[in-house]
């Protein structure tokens, strides 16, 4: 990735961070929407597995979001920002979404009852997932007064850069999915281990299914 794409004229080597920062941001936003979709499926079916997937998707997107914000600020400090599409308004709208989802976990763990917790978290995830595109549109509309927006970043990218960029987005998406599956597997295994331990020690098994909430008993 770093050596295939040619050096960009204005910014030199620092521009390469764009291959990390933009896919992080895109995948994080898509992850939030996916979390919302799983939340809808949970609300409709009551199957706890969807709730767990929704939680993991949002959790992972938050981490990716932190990465996007950090790499973005590194990039911003090292250069003035080149394409119009990726300057202030996008940063601001992403920050708003990030602040909103940063409240997901506090909300989730401030409700004791696990069923209610999953339900409320799912409602929040659905609302947040709908909010992501709306917010993006609103912030973008607010800025088009000042700068004329160029069509899209990929129109501005010459061949090798575009190819590298696409590859990085795909790679970041796959990384996201892998990490989510990893976390899901870890959580499921831990829950199975706990229920086995409980059965070994002779306690009655919990009637509740899987939930992302830490069980208190």
């Amino acid at each position: 990735m770093f050596f295939y794409a040619p050096l960009e004229i204005d910014q030199g080597f620092v521009q390469k961070i764009f291959y990390v920062h933009v896919p992080l941001a895109i995948v994080a936003l898509v992850g939030f929407v996916v979390g919302g979709i799983y939340a809808i499926r949970f609300l409709r079916s009551g199957d706890r597995a969807h709730d767990l997937r929704s939680y993991v998707a949002i959790h992972m997107s938050l981490i990716f979001g932190v990465g996007a914000l950090l790499t973005g600020s590194i990039w911003a400090r090292a250069s003035w920002g080149h394409w119009w599409l990726w300057d202030e308004p996008t940063l601001v709208s992403f920050l708003i979404v990030f602040l909103l989802y940063a409240c997901y976990q506090p909300l989730r763990f401030s409700i004791e009852d696990p069923e209610r917790q999953s339900r409320y978290a799912a409602v929040f995830a659905v609302v947040g997932g709908a909010f992501v595109p709306l917010n993006f549109m609103a912030v973008r509309a607010a800025q088009s007064n000042i700068h004329p927006r160029t069509l899209s970043a990929s129109d501005n990218l010459p061949g090798p850069i575009a190819l590298t960029f696409l590859l990085c987005i795909v790679a970041m998406g796959l990384l996201f999915i892998t990490l989510c599956k990893y976390e899901l597997a870890a959580k499921n295994t831990r829950m199975q281990l706990r229920s086995l331990k409980r059965r070994l020690s002779g306690e009655a098994p919990l009637q509740r299914g899987r939930s992302a909430a830490p069980q208190e008993l």
Binding site: L43, I96, V97, L99, L100, C103, P106, L107, S110, I111, E112, R116, R119, Y120, A122, V123, F124, V126, V127, A130, F131, L134, N135, M137, A138, V139, A141, A142, N145
Partner: protein, 224 residues
């Protein structure tokens, strides 16, 4: 369902008229906020986008106060249980609370905008009509929907009063953006420019999407 909604709205309005909790608090808050802005910005007259921004931020924060109070009596005095026992569609509570919060916001805004015109605004309000009320009404609808949703979500959690602003403010930012940008030319000193339809479209779209979403999702918040 309509009679249930009417009954709930009447109950809330009567409770508010008898005890005067939410609306006077919101009003006092807006007046104090204007005073704070006067001292903070060190200006005695505002116009244009600055005036628009100050007005909208104040209204948004006052709305958060109203959202905090919206479901509290339901929680503390068993209103949720009583409502769940009644054989009515559960979204009646959603519609009723949206109407009540919308009403509170309209009352607060009528007084707050007048106070703003007297205290801080330099150009008169005359040229801002009828654009300003239109924008305010559209934004109020959105704030009412968000407020009901977030209020219902937060009232069952432990950190009730903290969660409401944390959730409601980011959700209301598109409303703030659209509203402030729409009213900025209306409050300009030298000749008010026309109201841009683009912001009204954004406000309307946001209201519709969130109203439908909240309507669909509210049932799950009331289940036991």
């Amino acid at each position: 369902m309509r009679s249930a909604v009417i009954a709930l709205v009447r109950k809330d309005l009567l409770a508010e008229l008898r005890s005067f909790e939410a609306v006077p608090a919101m009003l006092m808050f807006t007046i104090s906020a204007f005073a704070l802005f006067h001292f903070g910005l060190d200006r005695s007259s505002l116009e244009g986008s600055l005036a628009s921004g100050v007005l909208w931020v104040t209204l948004l924060l006052a709305a958060v106060l109203g959202m905090n109070r919206l479901f509290v009596t339901e929680r503390e005095q068993g209103g949720f249980d009583a409502f769940l026992l009644a054989p009515v569609d559960r979204t009646a509570m959603f519609v009723a609370k949206v109407i009540v919060l919308f009403g509170f916001l309209v009352v607060v805004e009528v007084v707050a905008v007048a106070a703003f015109a007297v205290l801080l605004l330099e150009p008169g309000l005359g040229r801002a009509m009828p654009g300003l009320p239109l924008v305010l009404l559209l934004a109020d609808a959105g704030l009412a929907v968000i407020g009901t949703l977030v209020g219902a979500l937060a009232v069952q959690t432990r950190a009730r009063d903290l969660i409401v602003p944390l959730l409601a403010l980011p959700l209301s930012i598109p409303l703030l953006i659209a509203g402030a940008n729409a009213t900025a030319p209306l409050l300009a000193r030298s000749g008010a420019a026309a109201l841009e339809g683009r912001w009204l479209a954004i406000l309307g779209l946001y209201d519709v999407v969130f109203a439908l979403l909240a309507y669909a999702v509210f049932d799950y918040l009331l289940e036991d």
